[in-house]
């Protein structure tokens, strides 16, 4: 090594050390409990940008500055139906600065179908901020006006009607297969890769009926006819549409939007985040903003979500065994 090169190396090393020294003071906090979080929290959105989870996280983000003193930094980690990003969270050091958004019941379904590859106990649910009931939809060209009519026709012409599902091995896939099985009918099932793909298939009459979230249909309400809500109550924006239960078909499925943290975080951090989330949720502006992007605000505490999932898991196990999904 010639001398000038050595000099250059020394100078660049010197600059590096200086930079590190400069940055260091800002990362050191005084008492951790009082100042937490004190710096931006990263949030994993385990899907591609622009999807439902992304939109909800961004609505939440608009209120984090006021509550936690800093906004989120977004990390998109799509793959494995979201479980790739969650696995990353499960294997991360629980320092309180990495969280994730995800959905119920997919959180436990991934473990039941073998797609998730991490311990279920490695993640803690902080709370649920929205719940989006699934809807059965067709285009306005459809001869059907409710699910009762659709099922009657399906019974008459076994295997001839097509039912689209918005996502493979998700909650509504399972619930729909269980419903078809219970009704004892034969329907051709077509699986799509997400709610927007399902919406265009429904509107283009590629399937006779589709089941998915309501949000992707928001821009085409006039062309869409809703046949039923697969939830326990009617929805405000389509108040005349009956639930499946009202139509005499037992089915109740939907997507809960939850925030997750890795297990093993300090108790004061967990408590701070849970309390902060609830405070944000109770803000009417936040709920209005959630509705703007097409989601229904609905709060459940972390414990309530966990209890719901345990209950779901027992029921789903039976369905999985029966349908062989």
């Amino acid at each position: 090594m010639t001398l000038p090169k050595l000099y250059r190396l020394l100078i660049s090393l010197g600059i590096l050390v200086l930079l590190i020294l400069l940055i260091k003071p800002f990362t050191n906090e005084g008492s951790p409990e009082a100042s937490y979080p004190g710096k931006p929290i990263k949030i994993i959105v385990p899907f591609k940008p622009g999807g439902g989870s992304d939109r909800i996280a961004r609505v939440l983000d608009a209120y984090t500055k006021e509550e936690f003193g800093s906004t989120f930094t977004f990390v998109y980690k799509p793959g494995g139906g979201g479980h790739l990003g969650l696995r990353f969270l499960a294997n991360t050091k629980p320092d309180g600065y990495l969280l994730a958004t995800y959905n119920t019941p997919d959180l436990v379904l991934g473990h039941m179908t073998g797609i998730a590859n991490y311990e279920q106990n490695d993640l803690v649910v902080l709370g649920q901020i929205a719940f989006d009931a699934n809807v059965f939809a067709t285009s306005q060209d459809s001869p059907f006006f409710n699910m009762k009519e659709f099922l009657r026709e399906a019974r008459k012409r076994p295997g001839k009607l097509r039912l689209g599902i918005s996502q493979p091995k998700g909650g509504n896939h399972l619930a729909t297969l269980a419903m078809i099985d219970e009704q004892g009918i034969d329907i051709s099932v077509v699986i799509f890769a997400g709610g927007t793909e399902l919406a265009s298939a429904v509107l283009g009459n590629q399937v006779d009926v589709g089941i998915g979230g309501l949000a992707p249909f928001h821009g085409s309400m006039k062309q869409t006819r809703f046949l039923a809500i697969s939830g326990d109550k009617r929805l405000k924006i389509i108040p005349t549409i009956q639930t499946m239960i009202e139509q005499g078909i037992p089915m109740n499925s939907g997507t809960g939007r939850i925030i997750l943290a890795p297990a093993g975080m300090a108790t004061f951090q967990l408590e701070r985040l849970k309390q902060g989330l609830k405070t944000i949720f109770d803000n009417d502006d936040f709920q209005a903003d959630l509705r703007k992007v097409g989601n229904e605000p609905s709060w459940l505490s972390g414990e309530e979500v966990t209890a719901y999932l345990e209950d779901f898991q027992i029921k789903a196990q039976k369905v999985l065994e029966k349908t062989g999904l």
Binding site: P49, T196, S200, G219
Partner: protein
């Protein structure tokens, strides 16, 4: 339509124009840097867009989208590295031109074609997004399958005269595309127990490895001090003007192809530019020139690629169904401003909708002006000596692969595919077809699997397809493309032979 004028007036605010100009510069840089994508830039700028309010914010996002898709051409031409999958065909002729010392001509041609395509696509969006959105719904899974097949018919065009090896390469690409989750059953396949492979071989890191890393290794191997000679050409714009005038039919056809495919939700820019490229070659008088530095190839690819930008917003604006991830992020921004895209957009929020569409026209003109000066900067890369450029490209590959996937996994994919690309270059197997298979494989597979599920309700597969006129038309197009490819191949071989004989004699 008469509301378009107030839309333009909304943009006359100097602050808005300044922000758009900055967004264009940023978009070009992001598009040029391998691995950084328009999606990344748009989602990064979302919070800032919210702060600016709807008109300025949306204009900024649209400007980034427009500029980033053009920027992909720069790295494709200078470094043989398609910054985005949709500028893949740009590299096939762009890099050979750079090597011949015609980098300037290639870059300006890409800019002009991008702007013309972009303006065409925007006009399509403005004139008829509502009816076209409804028309796009006629495309179901079988149509997407045959569209992907039509794209795959371009294998012969990009095999550098070695059709059999090109087919082999495309098959390898299709096989690699199968790694990960089955799109329809959700089952995990070909991951060999390596969990991160569940998300499949990501396209951007794979392209970085295949093209950039293998290229960087070649740069370092080569004895030359620079990757290509660089000299400013004499009477460049005179020549270019002549070329543009001669190629108006290619530009128009590519813009139409780009707009039509852009409208289809989920098809993507890569199919648009590949089909446009293949069409340009098929109808060319000298198809043998393609792949060896034909400026027409660059124009076809770039016009289609940028026509697709605005037209990909058609289903989002008309039905609230975003056709790609870029449109999805922009739709998120619209909704956060309290604007519901879809039916009723023009009755409820026509002012903002028209201002946004007008801004896309302005963006294209800004792109023309700013891009013109940035070409001079881009060509400076060629002045960097190879022994600095090679390692620099490798560093960019690593950063880009990480940024595209937010994980070290992407970097491994990049290195793995880089090795594959390098070995293929060594044994003389073209890498373009592999990339084509990788990009189109998932679209074809999903379309096929869903079509088969749909066909279960019909008496036979044949009756299912016969009842779908668009599918039938696409099958005919595929057959035409296949036979034309064989014919063109034979013609170029004959021309080659003739040239050799004349050379000997």
């Amino acid at each position: 339509m008469e509301l378009l004028l107030p839309g333009f007036l909304d943009l006359l605010d100097p602050q808005t124009l300044l922000i758009m100009a900055l967004a264009i510069v940023g978009g070009i840089v992001v598009g040029t840097l391998p691995g950084l994508s328009s999606v990344m830039a748009i989602s990064l700028m979302l919070p800032i867009a919210y702060a600016f309010g709807p008109v300025t914010g949306l204009s900024m996002l649209g400007a980034i989208y427009t500029a980033a898709l053009y920027g992909g051409a720069n790295s494709a031409i200078i470094l043989n590295t398609p910054g985005t999958p949709s500028s893949l065909p740009t590299a096939f002729d762009g890099f050979p031109m750079t090597k011949q010392g015609k980098a300037n001509q290639a870059l300006y041609a890409a800019l002009f074609a991008s702007v013309l395509g972009g303006l065409f696509g925007t006009m399509v969006l403005i004139v008829a997004f509502e009816p076209l959105a409804n028309l796009s719904l006629k495309f179901g899974p079988p149509e997407f399958f045959f569209l992907a097949c039509l794209g795959l018919c371009a294998v012969a065009a990009i095999s550098e005269g070695k059709v059999l090896r090109g087919l082999l390469s495309a098959c390898i690409g299709l096989l690699i595309a199968l790694i990960g989750q089955d799109p329809v059953s959700g089952d995990v396949r070909f991951t060999f127990g390596i969990y991160p492979l569940i998300s499949g071989i990501e396209v951007i890191p794979a392209l970085l490895g295949l093209f950039s890393l293998s290229q960087a290794m070649k740069i370092l191997e080569a004895k030359g001090s620079h990757i290509a000679p660089y000299a400013s050409e004499i009477n460049l714009f005179g020549k270019l003007e002549k070329k543009l005038r001669q190629s108006w039919s290619i530009l128009l056809r590519s813009s139409i192809i780009g707009s039509v495919i852009g409208i289809l939700p989920g098809a993507g820019g890569a199919i648009a530019s590949i089909i446009a490229y293949n069409e340009a070659r098929r109808t060319s008088k000298e198809p043998g020139k393609f792949g060896k530095g034909a400026v027409e190839g660059i124009m076809a690819s770039e016009a289609a690629n940028n026509a697709q930008v605005s037209s990909s917003l058609v289903p989002m604006m008309g039905l609230g169904i975003p056709g790609n991830v870029n449109a999805a992020v922009i739709m998120g921004a619209l909704m956060s401003f309290g604007i519901q895209p879809g039916m009723g957009l023009l009755t409820n929020s026509s002012d903002i909708a028209y201002a946004f569409m007008a801004s896309l026209i302005v963006s294209n003109f800004l792109l023309l002006g700013i891009g013109f000066y940035m070409v001079k900067l881009t060509t400076r890369v060629l002045l960097i000596p190879s022994n600095y450029l090679g390692p620099g490209v490798i560093a960019l590959c690593i950063v880009g692969a990480y940024a595209a996937t937010y994980s070290v996994y992407g970097v491994w994919v990049m290195f793995g595919m880089g090795l594959v690309g390098y070995l293929m270059l060594k044994v003389g197997i073209p890498i373009g077809p592999l990339a084509l298979g990788l990009v189109l494989g998932p679209i074809a597979e999903k379309g096929l699997a869903q079509s088969l599920q749909m066909a279960e309700s019909e008496s036979s597969l044949l009756s299912f397809i016969l009842a779908r006129p668009i599918s039938m038309a696409l099958i005919v197009f595929c057959l035409v493309a296949l036979f034309a490819a064989l014919y063109v191949e034979k013609k170029t071989q004959q021309a080659e032979l003739l040239r050799k004989e004349q050379g000997n004699g």
